[in-house]
Amino acid sequence: MRAAAVLLAMVVGSACAGLAARGDAMAVVASTFRNIVQPVVLVGIGAEQDAGNITAERAAELRGYVNVIGEVLEGGQVSEVGTARDAWNLLLPLAEAGIDERVARGEIGAGVGASIKEVLRLFGARLLQLETGGGGPAARQGITLTTTQWEAVRAVLR
């Protein structure tokens, strides 16, 4: 066990030696969304649709909302991170239901589901922080929502 710990420390040292770049909260949040959160949400929406809990039209709306969050996080022509937070509050229950469904089917274990939910929790916390944490990356990038995106958001929130 001690040997493993020493090896761990050695690997870290060598792996970090060549890294000069620095990280960015927005980039991490955006990539977390792309790689983990978005697929989870889409599975959740699909599960709800399959179960007959939402119509195809509603599912399409929700998928559009997922896209809105992605666009906000990618820092395109979007001006309000708060919209992404609102969208997230709407989508989170679907995402969690999707995870629960996968656990129930035995596709993933309960502990794996808990790990994914942990990311969802932190992702939501970061979104809130981006909105309210004055001077954060989003604020500096002058994020604004287009009229079309606003309409999409309003349609989903109705």
Binding site: L8, V12, C16, A21, G23, A25, V119
Partner: protein, 97 residues
Amino acid sequence: MISIGSEFASAVVASAARMGLELEATDAEVRRYATLRLLHLSRIQGEPGYQEAVEAEAAALSLTIVGRAIQEADAADRELRGLLVGLLRMGVTALLA
């Protein structure tokens, strides 16, 4: 077990520091969180979809570590995520050895 968790947490903090990342949480908070997540992973090792959990925990650690916006963010994010996945795998292996 505590020793490995501590080594792992130190490795995560050291990784962040050497990459020039500014910790959003305090050093102690990052260490505590990293240790907890490693222990969680070690407990669920072998569950269906375990690899997803490793990826998720790496993302969770990334979200905990990162501070403010800087240049080369996407590249740094990829590096950090890859590094954390490797550290988590090694940490779990060490814990279960």
